[in-house]
Subunit: 322 residues, 2 copies
DNA sequence: TTGTAAGCGTTATCAT
DNA sequence: ATGATAACGCTTACAA
């Protein structure tokens, strides 16, 4: 492994000059700069990041906390990584399986000297408190929830649901139900839409907890049994919609002829179903990019003191189920 | 950030003694060790990994190359991470989106001083060659393919397919077809099974390339049009099976009454379909764990010179589609 | 049984 | 416009 000394030797200058030539911080003769750059190429020199961060105290790793392996998180993370690496940082991914933090997570982050934190649908409030307890400030950006003092990118679910319900109404549906847990943001959008459209408020919250598919299947069953007679259903998620679809198949209800069905998330699953699922898509790439921008600005000290909150809007994707 | 000096001061000993007390390497009085451990606790000391790896030259990060955000890779990676972190290493995940390596990947890995490499379905032959070109040996473990000189965990697909076909036959199916690309490992298992069972060899390779779902749908259509009259189908993947299922629905074929259908992978999707898909499951956690063991052994220098190749067996999961 | 000190590769302060 | 050198926190050979 060539070090900066080797480069200096090769170029016939001092290490200080190599530093100036590569990163600025003082005047360097053009001819010398060229010699240095050539020497870097020839030696295959790449600065040792361990040494750098030991010296500067600044870390070069950004940690991402991710709820285990979910397709949506991965899409966001992918976009996030690209921006982060383009800015010269490295991405350190930590999977939080089953809601449990890895043992000694804070320690390992401190030891690694992480420069910042990105939370993909996992709250890091406690974790950041621990950092503060050690006298460290850890810049952070979160998705879809607000950690106190952290920047955030929020998803405007109400808007997405509202658009979907309006679209159902535009297709002639008059009894549009909401199926799923009592999530305030989704219910807000649904409630606003049916009120504005003058349609009945039809909501069913299945109280099942074991997985979204069976929740969707059983919830749909109950919805039908309660004689709500829906001709359209906005589901909490694609997974729940898949369950609802199973119920319709079982009962011989045709989708979309008898009942139109809309999901939420636009998972790849939506394309695999019969019929293919109309759904509200999250702009995952945009989310990842925005999170990276926010965090990078803070790492560069170019962000205001107060947390920056941004909002992204989901988009309706029309398929066979409506 | 407390350093080892602070701990030494607090405990009233030298840094050398702290080192011995914490990591061994010489005798330490019990009483002194206790004082040191107390001081570590009180100071909240955690060794600075940048300094350590600068000094030792050994990295503490293991890099994982992953084909972007796939659910199966994530499950394996999750298990992999747990073992790696338990061994005191950190995991550095790199997503290879769309088959393209991030620009300057080798450089960034060198600079990070990664200790080892894990390839989840991405070949790293070229990458490791580049490392060798710089005079660095990079221990590596791969999944599902053999990189020269690297350890590997292979999936015994033939066994999995064979078991599935036998299961179809046991349920009375006599015309079992294989639907999918001409993947040698899967075809091997299929061919062996139908031969052993004395059943006809019915194979259709759709030459469509645009996504596995439409490939499954169109492939199934062609399979039926060719009058192969299958009463059972082993698909290349769950995604293809989902497409095949769509075709059956469209044509009014009942699954499993008219045709039984088996997928491969056991994605979460399999539970969302109607009917729920019987499929060949990959033991993802085991794969991740084994890869970690192999790599850790090599990092500790406890592995033989020759590459170690292990094999894991998939398992049939019976659901509604058979 | 314990302590001293060198050195890893970088950055940055100072002098030239 | 350039160079010598100290310091970051850690590990470890060597001295005591």
């Amino acid at each position: 492994m060539p070090s900066i000394k080797d480069v200096a030797m090769k170029a016939g200058v001092s290490v200080r000059t190599v530093g100036r030539a590569l990163y600025g911080g003082g005047p360097v003769k053009d001819e010398v700069r060229q010699r240095v750059e050539l020497a870097v190429k020839q030696a295959g020199y790449a600065p040792n990041l361990a040494a750098r961060s030991l010296k500067t105290g600044r870390g070069y790793l950004v940690a991402a906390l991710v709820a285990s392996g979910d397709e949506l998180h991965m899409a966001r993370l992918d976009a996030f990584q690209i921006e982060i690496e383009a800015a010269g940082f490295g991405l350190h991914v930590i999977f939080i399986s089953g809601g449990k933090e890895p043992l000694g997570l804070v320690d390992s982050l401190v030891r690694l000297g992480v420069a910042g934190l990105a939370c993909f649908h996992v709250s890091a409030t406690r974790l950041r408190k621990e950092f503060e307890g050690r006298g460290l400030r850890l810049p952070a950006v979160a998705f879809d929830h607000q950690d106190p003092g952290a920047d955030a990118v929020l998803l405007d679910r109400p808007r997405g649901i509202e658009e979907a319900v309006h679209d159902l109404a535009a297709k002639g549906r008059r009894r549009i139900a909401y199926l799923g847990p009592a999530d305030p943001s989704r219910l807000d959008g649904y409630a606003r839409a049916v009120r504005d459209l003058g349609l009945p408020y039809l909501v069913h919250h299945p109280d099942l907890k074991d997985g979204e598919i069976s929740m969707g299947e059983q919830g749909m069953q109950e919805l039908l049994d309660k004689a709500m007679q829906p001709d359209g259903v906005q589901a909490f998620s694609d997974m729940m919609a898949a369950g609802a679809l199973r119920c319709c198949h079982r009962r011989g209800l045709r989708v979309p002829q008898d009942i139109a069905l809309v999901g939420f998330d636009n998972r790849r699953l939506a394309l695999c179903l019969w019929p293919q699922l109309t759904t509200v898509a999250q702009p995952n790439e945009e989310i990842g990019r925005r999170m990276a921008c926010l965090l990078l600005a803070r790492l560069r000290g170019a962000a205001p003191d107060a947390p920056v909150i941004e909002s992204v809007t989901p988009m309706l994707v029309r398929r066979e189920s409506t």
